[in-house]
């Protein structure tokens, strides 16, 4: 017999109401399940109920002018095969393609990744560089929270009891790139992941570093520090400062010092790759 039951509400209201009634700590929320199922298999968690989001209309996306709203249960593979998302948010596609294999991304979702808030997430650095925010729904209605304020600790996102991640908002298309370092492309997680994005709105770069505990960090250099089209020297200096912000975390994958060296190189390459997309742009 199954140690948990599977509940699949047909509407957002039903899902929120169910979660509000559920005893605290006994329910796990199921989006794609690619991470959750491994926790269940290894008995790291033992919930009595799984609240499945599969029947909610959160598995699609919509454009509002330049802004893209992605439903939290959209399979990552749907996003990577969409030509418009690919051309408007190239860095997001790069980060998505860094998540496991194609067959894993058929199940994995953006909302699930944020809900887990893993320090090794490839998606979170890119969402930070794109200034993404998450729309949350819960007992007291809907609210919007910057991804930066959501992914505060691994496995423990800043959600109140009974809250669910409904969608992710990307405010504007940005020249962007995501680069990572790891042993095998589809069977390992990144030692370091670097996202770079240039905002046409304020003419400034965002750089985010991930793959290193405790959480991904975002750096927002000033326009004089890192201009839109930086000189080699300016980029080199900005990359060095960014890498120094990385916590010196050593684990079985890599040493802290090695991660900083890799991060330094990846920041330079990510800004150059994103910058090359801006050729012809003002």
């Amino acid at each position: 017999m199954s140690s948990f039951d599977l509940v699949a509400p047909a509407s957002e209201e039903e899902a929120v109401a169910w979660l509000a009634r559920a005893p605290t700590g006994e329910t796990a929320v199921l989006a794609g399940g690619t991470d959750l199922l491994n926790d269940l298999e290894e008995q790291r968690i033992a919930p009595r109920h799984l609240l499945s989001l599969r029947r909610l209309p959160w598995n699609r996306w919509s454009w509002t002018g330049p802004a893209l709203t992605i439903g939290s249960t959209t399979p990552l593979v749907d996003l990577e095969y969409d030509p418009k998302i690919r051309s408007e948010f190239p860095g997001l596609i790069g980060a998505i393609e860094a998540v496991g294999s194609v067959a894993l991304r058929a199940r994995a979702t953006l909302g699930g990744n944020l809900g887990r808030s893993g320090s090794a997430s490839d998606l979170i650095p890119m969402l930070l560089a794109l200034d993404a925010s998450a729309e949350i729904v819960g007992p007291s209605g809907r609210r919007s929270v910057p991804v930066d304020a959501l992914v505060v600790a691994s496995r423990r996102p800043a959600l109140d009891p009974g809250e669910l991640i409904r969608s992710v908002l990307l405010p504007e298309p940005r020249a962007s790139a995501y680069l990572w370092q790891r042993i095998r492309p589809a069977q390992d997680v990144s030692h370091v992941g670097v996202a770079a994005a240039f905002s046409p709105g304020d003419g400034r770069w965002r750089i985010a570093l991930g793959g290193v505990p405790p959480r991904a960090i975002r750096i927002h250099p000033g326009a004089s520090e890192l201009p839109g089209r930086p000189s080699k020297a300016a980029l080199e200096a900005a990359a060095r400062r960014a890498a120094e912000r990385l916590p010196l975390a050593t684990d079985l994958r890599a040493t802290g010092e090695y991660r900083r060296l890799v991060a330094h190189a990846l920041v330079i390459r990510a800004v150059e790759a994103a910058g090359a997309m801006r050729e012809g742009a003002p």
Partner: protein, 159 residues
């Protein structure tokens, strides 16, 4: 919560979900409930690709999928590959290139490639692209050279 009896289709055949436990994975439903043993269990944690099947035409890891989550969906396994236009071409390519050693990873490779070719027209099937789609499939015999030849051939010959 559903008025219609929960069901999914496996190789066009309806499967009643009522008696399936909540924690049962598609991999186990296929192998032990439906006795479709072609789908293989490798790492059971999403890292090897041996358990890959198609869900609504998309390559999907059956080890990381709860069966009851697939209410209303269509699953194609290696047993259904001969009836799939791209699947048949992939099987023939693996056979003619001798791309099978112990064979354990083969169903996963075949289904991952079938899913991609089934939705990707010729002209978008560069070797690099095809191999990228298969990064999640491991062959522990390391028989990759023959597999790569079969992948190229399937890319040329599949409709």
């Amino acid at each position: 919560m559903s008025a219609v009896p929960a069901a999914l289709k496996v190789n066009h055949r309806p499967v009643d979900l009522e008696g399936v436990p909540a924690d049962e994975r598609l991999l186990d439903t296929l192998r032990w409930r439906l006795e479709l043993r072609g789908t293989k269990e490798g790492c059971r944690s999403g890292g090897c690709g041996a358990c890959t099947v198609l869900v609504d035409g998309r390559p999907t890891l059956s080890c990381l999928t709860l069966t009851r989550e697939l209410d209303g969906r269509e699953v194609t396994t290696i047993e259904g590959a001969p009836d799939h236009p791209a699947g048949r071409a992939v099987l023939e390519a693996f056979e003619s290139e001798g791309a099978v050693q112990c064979g354990y990873c083969t169903p996963g490779f075949v289904m991952a490639l079938t899913g991609f070719l089934g939705r990707t027209p010729r002209g978008h099937r560069s070797t690099e692209r095809l191999l990228r789609e298969l990064q999640g499939n491991l062959c522990r015999c390391t028989g990759y050279a023959a597999i790569a030849r079969a992948v190229d051939r399937a890319g040329r010959e599949a409709p």
